[in-house]
């Protein structure tokens, strides 16, 4: 079991800075997601926790011990990669046994341990099969088995589901999370898939260009993004971001969008100039009485809900509404916004503090 503390960690490759002074804490037993687009520094961060890369500066503590300059073999961790690297000439049992045999564990103990792990993963019937003929999912289970069998303090996973197709990924995600809940070991998991991060993670770090954009619980990050990057990256469709010219200050409770007064949470910070009005699609409702108008340009049926795209004076807006509502492309309608859910951003992309988001943003 392990708590991992990342403190001012920085990594440079020559002139390129992969990770800029990152700090966050992974609590013991957490399922922790490192999320971001490719090149954001998430894998580099994971590799520094593993000891496969050494940070240029900063400290990494595993259970209170500073390990940043120690090699991987001196850290009690197990790594699971996207490409499950199994030994092709060995059967499943030998693949899972390998880490224990190389530690010099007695054979009967190895056997008992492998049987136990195979039971947890539901692959007992495969133990004597060659790995060559296994399905993608079973290969991934074997790779997991090889990681679990060592009882490490912490699992590090780099897009372990990235190579699987959508339907199967969904199932493996549930399985992985259930496995975590049974074993309880700290897990650090890298992904670029925001839905996977929301679905599996206790906490998420969102990274972009080597910078930690936000750190917190999935629902808090979704509701109260710290930056426009997070607002765009989390959620599908993304948060609507409408640029407008305006001014807000302490106590402001409304803004003017295209000459329409729109209520927002009471602000406790100020800015003027180009501001950005952020609202999630499910907090936009089609309301013919509303003053802010848009023309419907597309609808996307999704079963229970539908996504309606509208052209407004401030750019396109997407609304998520019930699929029973009849909408016609080309119609003009008003748009209402749930005033409790609005985030305003300054022109540097950072969220402005309001009574609604201060709790999340000041403690995140």
């Amino acid at each position: 079991m392990a708590q991992i503390v990342i403190k001012n960690v920085r990594k440079e490759f020559g002139a390129f800075t992969a990770v800029q002074s990152s700090s966050f804490t992974i609590e013991d037993g957490e399922f922790f997601m490192l999320l971001g687009p490719s090149g954001c520094g998430k894998t580099t961060t994971l590799r520094m926790i593993a000891g496969l890369e050494l940070p240029t500066s900063g400290e990494i503590y595993i259970n209170g011990e500073e390990v940043s300059q120690k090699p991987a073999s001196k850290r009690d961790i197990a790594f699971v990669f996207q490409m499950f690297a199994l030994y092709p000439h060995m059967n499943v049992r030998k693949n899972i046994s390998y880490p224990l045999v190389s530690q010099g564990m007695p054979r009967d103990q190895v056997r008992a341990k492998v049987d136990e792990v195979a039971g947890i993963l539901g692959i007992t019937r495969l133990l004597d099969k060659p790995v060559g003929g296994l399905s993608g999912g079973d290969r991934q289970r074997v790779a997991l088995g090889r990681a679990i069998v060592r009882d490490p303090a912490c699992f590090l996973m780099d897009e372990p589901l990235g190579a699987l197709d959508a339907e199967f990924r969904e199932r493996m995600a549930l399985e992985l999370r259930a496995l975590h809940d049974r074993i309880g070991a700290t897990t650090v998991y890298v992904t670029h898939d925001q839905l996977e991060a929301m679905q599996m993670g206790d906490k998420i770090v969102v990274m972009n260009h080597g910078v930690v954009e936000q750190f917190g619980k999935p629902q808090q990050i979704y509701d109260w993004p710290a930056t426009t990057f997070v607002a765009r990256f989390i959620g599908s469709p993304a948060m609507n971001l409408l640029d407008f010219d305006g001014m807000v200050g302490n106590g402001t409770d409304h803004v003017w969008l295209a000459d329409t007064r729109v209520q927002v949470p009471r602000m406790i910070s100020g800015a003027s100039g180009t501001l950005t009005f952020g609202v999630r699609p499910e907090h936009v409702r089609l309301d013919d009485a509303a003053g802010f108008r848009g023309r419907i340009t597309a609808t996307e049926y999704l079963g229970t809900t539908q996504i309606v795209t509208l052209d407004t004076p401030l750019g396109p807006v997407k609304a998520r509404c019930g699929s029973q509502i009849a909408v016609r492309i080309g119609d003009t309608t008003g748009l209402g916004f749930d005033p409790r859910s609005i985030t305003l951003f300054a022109d540097n992309g950072h969220a402005l503090l309001s009574v609604a988001n201060q709790k999340v943003l000041q403690h995140g």
Binding site: D165, A166, E167, E170, L174, R177, A178, D181, D193, Q194, L195, M198, Q199, M200, K217, P218, Q219, Y222, D223, I234, G235, S236, P237, A238, R280, P281, E282, T297, A298, E300, Y301, L302, G303, T304, I307, T309, R320, S323
Partner: protein
């Protein structure tokens, strides 16, 4: 543009049957999406329409004419594949002009220029026309390969998972774009995917394929709300429909073996106790993984629910589906 009709099509590869007795009509101007897992026969159907493969039995008609014995070029179809195969030594413009320069078409130079400019505008790649094809991002390359199909005026566009190699954001943008291009052109599209979001959001009609058979054909809403079988019901909807023993919640109609519950068919707060096993906050909604009489089920609840793992929540079916032992829907 034209109607495409498949009449009693079968296709075998050696001992393996890829398609069995498929009859389907793609109406003129329709956007038909073929949906099914790997191996269901989707791509085979597309290849039979294009003329890249020949049916073992049955006939394909395009615009009312039998395609028997006609080559892909003679069929006047345009194809877009998952892997954009652009000519790397040519510019974007030259790639898009290529199909129009076919000796079969004899398109005048001025017409070629006009058409390419128009399509580039629609796909927002006008500023890239003089770039080498290889100097583009993945999304741009796929736009060019779609553009190369759109410059022509074929009887039907055939697309085989054209968006699946793109990242999520670009895929979402191109979904909307493709749909509006198709609607504006009034073009006939036959489109293959295993992505249910693409099927639901773009299609006028979805064809559900199961091991070489067409099991349901209709608008996405009809397949979602009135699936013919457990299999068809399972093709659409996230989270997946729950399939449970028919009598689990009480009396079931005669002949029912399974009850099918989409998340919105599970009413919360009334009925019998279930145990919350896991709560997933996805942002716009929260998924509940429940245990009910030793069966797992998944439903959706309010984004800011206070429910947590270990809580008890009452549930009952709300206008559920019932299926017989063979998986065919009876209610």
């Amino acid at each position: 543009m034209a109607e495409v009709r498949l009449h009693d099509i079968s296709k075998s590869f050696g001992a393996q049957t890829a398609l069995r007795d498929v009859s389907m009509t793609v109406p003129d101007g329709a956007f038909v999406v073929l949906l099914g897992p790997t191996g269901a026969g989707k791509t085979t159907m597309l290849r039979l329409v294009s003329g890249l493969d020949r049916a073992s039995a049955g006939e394909v008609f395009i615009g009312g004419q039998s395609m028997a014995g006609l080559t892909p070029a003679q069929r006047n179809v345009a194809m877009v594949f998952q892997q954009y195969s652009l000519y790397p030594h040519l510019t974007v413009r030259e790639n898009m002009e290529f199909p129009l320069k076919s000796p079969l078409l004899k398109t005048p130079r001025a017409e070629i220029t006009r058409k390419v400019a128009e399509v580039a505008e629609i796909l927002q790649i006008s500023h890239k026309l003089d770039n080498k094809a290889t100097a583009l991002s993945g999304g741009e390359m796929q736009r060019v390969s779609i553009g190369r199909a759109l410059v022509r005026d074929p009887a039907v566009y055939l697309m085989d998972e054209p968006l699946s190699s793109l990242d999520a954001k670009l895929r979402a943008d191109l979904r909307v774009e493709l749909k509006s291009i198709q609607a504006n052109l009034g073009a006939t599209f036959l489109y293959v995917t295993h992505d249910q979001i693409e099927a639901m959001t773009m299609a006028t009609h979805v064809g559900v394929l199961d091991q070489g058979r067409l099991v349901q054909f209709g608008p996405p809403r009809e397949i979602y709300e009135r699936p013919v079988s457990i299999y068809a019901a399972g093709r659409l909807g996230q989270p997946h429909i729950n399939i449970l023993p028919a009598g689990l919640f009480g009396a079931a109609p005669h002949g029912a073996a399974h009850i099918g519950l989409r998340p919105e068919q599970i009413e919360q707060g009334a009925g019998q106790d279930s145990l919350v096993k896991r709560v997933e906050h996805l942002g716009d909604q929260t998924r509940l993984h429940l245990s009910f009489k030793n069966h797992d089920l998944t439903t959706v609840t309010d984004a800011h629910t206070s429910l947590k793992s270990g809580d008890i929540v009452k549930i009952q079916p709300l206008r559920p589906f019932y299926f017989d032992a063979a998986g065919i829907r009876i209610v």
